[in-house]
């Protein structure tokens, strides 16, 4: 109407009102800053260290060193030789070998072909301008003074590299075909696994949501089982099924399970529950009225499927595809066990860091791996936000009608998928319990004597439980409290937006990358937080951060369902927000809080990728033990340990269920009273 004209004519206000903060406001902002700081230290700083590492190159700058050599009598000629010139004459080291890592050391005697440590010849060495560094024995020399050394000491002189910043690590990476072939490999197995998993999971979810077949509860349970084991386990199962001495080796017609085939089958196994959950949710929320409309319009089932079912579930399908893609491309355990000579990015990071101690190249591969992971994550977020918008309050749930033929087909189909999942777990349990595969199939518990194997023994198993419990306890508190602060505090918009961003970030960071970033950040002697390196603390911090996002989103969803005016009412009644939090918010959100706790526990039990860089001999974990025992050829004990993780997680789930039912019956009496 007439706003524009009025806006121009009235006088704009003077003297802005600045809010006086209440005690609660100050406490909540303080709390949010503390948790944001936690995320900065446990995520942002380590990632920053990693990025800067990937751009750091280390090179021996020979021009920085000068030497003098005496005659046999110990008399020095006045001639001063620069090492660079010496190398140009001698060609002792080709230029490309002057590149090294941060830990590089170069023995200086290489430039003296007729060097003998018994000779009476004396040597002097210095660095030219204070920028070069060299070691005499273990003593670091940085000054420009001449060091006069006898030959026996001189052979212990080692040059240290100079750090510079640039893209040369990346150039190096992309000019090494063996390395960048992994990108292609990773993407290839991720795409194939995604297609197979999504199709299998879609029909499984469809059967459970849209048919009247029996045993739906059982099938649902079976479908979720792979979440409870480390991704290494299907690899071990595949070794027993299709490996050199596998029972079903013949089915591969001579192809090797070690390689893409193994990785793909294993990936389908461990990503299946994730895809199933997402697609099942999408199918469950479809609107029954659309199907009634389709029937009244006399559409064929085929047409209904393509015009109603698929469009309704499309966001779920797309979202599932990106989640699976992300899981496969970032997974480390499975390709490590079954990948053979088939290199993928996640394993390359491990090989560069653990095998070759080339941390810079590990950082480069990490950066390469982050790109598809972040892309897949970002697309998934966009798609998921659209899925929510499809739900309307008026939707009517779809009620399937029995059809003996379709129900039978679906039962057979689900039975086959279930058999696949149970078979993989069953073969591991079987292998763990027999004496010596495949020659002596008598039962024995020998494989459970973990203390006799490499990998940490039973101690690793107890460490895992301790780590998982701590992660569940500390993680749930930190994450729920953080989500509460960011959802329910007023004002402070920029701060909250930054916090939200930090909370979403971990999902996009592959575990291997996070673990490596932790090495760079926490293993730096100059960092006062260095003390946590190699302790249980760093494992807990890393795991909480690794699984932060999903837990945060669970908490936020639960909090969003609470009336947004509770805080206002509480303030108007002059009650501290803390009272509202403990008396109302926490009890009402208890189901979500328990869900977060079990999610963190299960993932802490099964995770390998991030912690593989961070455990110490004292803090080895069960999942790491599986990896190490498999590496050492103790495959049966590895399977046994993997199944221990499985049973522990089942046990934890049962406790979670009992708690949910028991505690909730008391604290949530108001729910049933409707």
């Amino acid at each position: 109407m007439n706003t524009a004209s009025i806006d121009n004519t009235v006088v704009r206000p003077k003297g802005l009102v600045k809010a006086k903060l209440s005690r609660d406001d100050i406490i909540m902002r303080g709390g949010m800053i503390v948790i944001a700081l936690y995320l900065v230290i446990s995520l942002v700083f380590p990632l920053y260290s990693m990025f800067s590492k990937s751009f750091s190159t280390f090179q021996y700058d020979l021009s920085k060193f000068e030497v003098q050599v005496s005659d046999d009598a110990g008399q020095f000629s006045p001639k001063i030789t620069n090492l660079q010139n010496l190398n140009e004459d001698l060609k002792a080291i080709p230029d490309e070998e002057l590149s090294t890592g941060s830990g590089g050391r170069l023995g200086v005697t290489i430039f003296f072909p007729d060097f003998s440590f018994r000779s009476p010849v004396m040597y002097r060495i210095r660095n030219v301008d204070g920028q070069g560094r060299f070691l005499v024995g273990s003593k670091l020399m940085t000054g420009t003074d001449w060091q006069e050394l006898d030959s026996n000491t001189f052979r212990r002189v080692q040059l240290r590299p100079v750090r510079s910043t640039g893209l040369s690590n990346f150039i190096n990476y992309f000019s090494t075909p063996a390395l960048f072939k992994s990108i292609q490999n990773s993407i290839f197995i991720a795409i194939i696994s995604t297609i197979i998993t999504v199709i299998l999971a879609f029909w499984f979810a469809y059967a459970l949501n849209r048919s009247c077949m029996r045993f739906k509860g059982l099938f649902r349970l079976i479908a979720m089982a792979p979440i409870l084991v480390p991704s290494l386990l299907p690899g071990i199962a595949l070794v027993y099924l299709f490996g050199a001495q596998g029972v079903m080796k013949g089915l591969l017609f001579g192809a090797s399970i070690y390689g893409p085939i193994g990785i793909i089958i294993g990936s389908v196994f461990f990503t299946f529950p994730h895809a199933f959950l997402i697609i099942s949710t999408a199918l469950a929320i479809s609107d029954g009225r659309l199907y009634e409309a389709a029937i009244s319009l006399k559409a064929s089932p085929w047409k209904t499927f393509w015009t109603v079912t698929i469009p309704g579930a499309r966001y779920g399908i797309i979202s599932a595809a990106f989640v699976v893609f992300n899981l496969v491309i970032t997974d480390f355990g499975l390709p490590k066990v079954i990948g053979g000579q088939f290199n993928v990015l996640a394993v390359d990071i491990y090989k560069q860091v653990i095998g070759q101690q080339n941390f810079e190249m590990g950082a480069v591969v990490s950066v390469v791996l982050i790109i598809p992971a972040i892309l897949a994550f970002a697309i998934d977020r966009v798609v998921q936000s659209k899925q929510v918008a499809l739900l309307t309050a008026r939707s009517v749930p779809f009620n399937p009608k029995p059809s003996s033929r379709a129900d039978l087909i679906f039962t057979i189909y689900c039975g086959l998928v279930g058999l696949f999942i149970i078979g993989m777990l069953g073969i591991c349990q079987f292998a763990a319990l027999i004496k010596f595969w495949p020659y002596d199939l008598s039962l024995s518990l020998n494989n459970y004597q973990f203390d006799k194997m490499d990998g940490g023994g039973w101690g690793a198993y107890y460490n895992s439980i301790k780590m998982a419990l701590l992660t569940a306890l500390i993680g749930t508190c930190v994450i729920f409290f953080g989500a509460y602060l960011v959802e329910k505090s007023s004002g402070f918009k920029t701060g909250r937006a930054i916090f939200q961003m930090f909370a979403m970030l971990p999902m996009a960071i592959p575990g291997m990358v996070l673990g490596l970033a932790y090495i760079f950040f926490f293993n730096n002697p100059e960092n006062p937080l260095h003390i946590v390196y190699g302790t249980m603390t760093i494992l807990v911090i890393c795991t909480v951060t690794h699984f932060y996002t999903v837990s945060h989103l669970t908490a936020v969803t639960a909090l969003k369902q609470m009336d947004s005016e509770f805080e206002s009412v509480s303030a108007s009644l002059k009650q501290p927000t803390f009272k509202l939090f403990s008396r109302v918010t926490v009890p009402v959100c208890l189901p979500a809080i328990l869900d977060i706790a079990i999610y963190l526990f299960v993932n802490a039990m099964t995770t390998v990728s991030a912690v593989v860089f961070l455990y110490s001999p004292k803090t080895s974990l069960a999942s790491i033990a599986v990896l190490n025992m498999d590496d050492a050829g103790d495959i049966a004990p590895a399977a046994a340990m993997g199944m221990m993780i499985f049973y522990t997680n089942i046990f934890a789930r049962v406790i979670h269920l009992t708690l949910s039912k028991g505690v909730l019956r008391r604290t949530q009496a108001w729910r049933s009273s409707n």
């Binding site: 109407m1 007439n2 706003t3 009025i6 806006d7 009235v10 006088v11 206000p13 003077k14 003297g15 802005l16 009102v17 600045k18 809010a19 006086k20 903060l21 209440s22 005690r23 609660d24 406001d25 007023s490 009336d563 005016e565 509770f566 206002s568 009412v569 509480s570 303030a571 108007s572 009644l573 002059k574 009650q575 501290p576 009272k579 008396r583 109302v584 009890p587 009402v588 604290t667 949530q668 009496a669 108001w670 729910r671 009273s673 409707n674």
Partner: protein, 368 residues
């Protein structure tokens, strides 16, 4: 509660309040005074700024500039927890996991009251709102209307100086709404607590308020008693928003005379100069039907019109009339069932009507 108890002085003063959300200005220089014990309604269409104003008074969303003075104390920048009021939201915002008793007792705890005092006060309040036996139940076990009364009890439990009601009845069905209107008003009078209610329902405002603040696009259009805003609207917006009306464009042609097309109409006294473009309004219930024949003794503003449309609305007929004198628009008139029967008014017939001059209001046409 250390405010001045003089009923004539202002208990709550709003002075030049502005509120911006980014580039959108939700409140534009709002000023008003509310007396102790008064029941005031903020009335306006959605987006007019009434809830923003309430939340600024409550300290939930602080104004950008301007002052709020309650009981003689400048509370402009106080956080909600340091102000003295109780609030009831449309969603009730009852704590779902606490019983009714615990909900009401929530604000009584940590105030130096003993457990006995608290439980006495709670049962007193439950009696007051007429739900004495519901204490041990959970909110979900009560109906919407009952829940809203619990929310009210919780808000007044500690005896605040100001009661704020944010669309408290909007989520309820029509019957309960009418019943609760009466309940709230009675309770408010019994307690004598200064009350502000935000509503977009004019009937609610007219029936409950001592004074109504009509708001539009962030500004106060008019402040007055229900009778004033209905019968003497100060702006075209108020006339249009509250009740029904027919509107014509015309030109001032003399003292209390407006020319519409070729027809001259007598109006109430107005302040406009000759030749000024104005909008004039008349409410449907003010139009008098005279019947098919022109009575011998008829006053000013009498015209013949054709009855184009008749709609039965229970106690009256809503009629649309087309007159050659005002080709611009159909005239809406409400005729009582009684009058329609007495004058045997039928659709399509030609009918004489009178537009009483005291019911014809003139407004600045620019503001339309």
């Amino acid at each position: 509660m250390e405010g001045i108890k003089d009923p004539q002085s202002s208990y709550l003063s709003i002075k030049n309040l502005w509120k911006s959300f980014g580039s959108f200005t939700a409140l534009k220089d709002v000023s008003l005074d509310i007396k102790e014990g008064e029941f005031v309604c903020f009335l306006g269409p959605s987006g007019c700024g009434k809830t923003t104003l309430l939340r600024a008074i409550a300290g939930l969303d602080l104004q950008t500039s301007g002052a709020v003075v309650q009981g003689g104390k400048d509370i402009s920048n106080f956080p909600a927890s340091e102000r003295d009021y109780g609030i009831v939201f449309q969603s009730y915002a009852l704590f779902p996991n606490l019983t009714i008793e615990k909900n009401i007792a929530f604000g009584l705890e940590n105030t130096g009251r003993s457990k006995n005092e608290i439980s006495e006060r709670v049962s007193e309040l439950l009696d007051l709102i007429g739900l004495p036996d519901q204490g041990p139940k959970y909110p979900a076990q009560l109906s919407g209307g009952q829940q809203q009364r619990i929310a009210l009890a919780r808000a007044i439990a500690s005896g605040p100086g100001l009661l704020l009601l944010d669309e408290p009845l909007s989520a309820l069905d029509a019957k309960v709404r009418v019943y609760l209107r009466h309940e709230i008003k009675t309770l408010q009078q019994k307690l004598g607590v200064t009350t502000i209610m935000v509503t977009h329902d004019q009937e609610e405002a007219l029936s409950m308020a001592d004074r109504i603040v009509v708001m539009n696009e962030g500004k106060v259009e008019q402040i007055g008693t229900p009778n004033e805003v209905y019968c003497k609207p100060e702006t075209l917006f108020v006339a249009d928003f509250i009740g029904e009306m027919t509107q014509f464009r015309g030109t001032i042609s003399g003292k209390n005379l407006v020319k519409i097309g070729n027809t001259e109409l007598n109006t109430v006294e107005h302040r406009f100069a000759n030749g000024r473009e104005v909008s004039i309004t008349i409410r449907p219930e003010d139009i008098i039907p005279l019947g098919a024949k022109l009575p011998t003794k008829s006053g000013k503003n009498v015209f013949s019109a054709q009855l184009v449309e008749m709609e039965f609305l229970g106690s009256f007929w809503r009629c649309k009339l087309k007159s050659d004198e005002f080709p611009e628009a159909l005239v809406t008139a409400d005729f009582s069932v009684n009058a329609v029967r007495r004058l045997s008014i039928e659709p399509k017939q030609i009918l004489w009507i009178e537009l009483p001059s005291q019911s014809i209001l003139a407004f600045d046409a620019q503001a339309a």
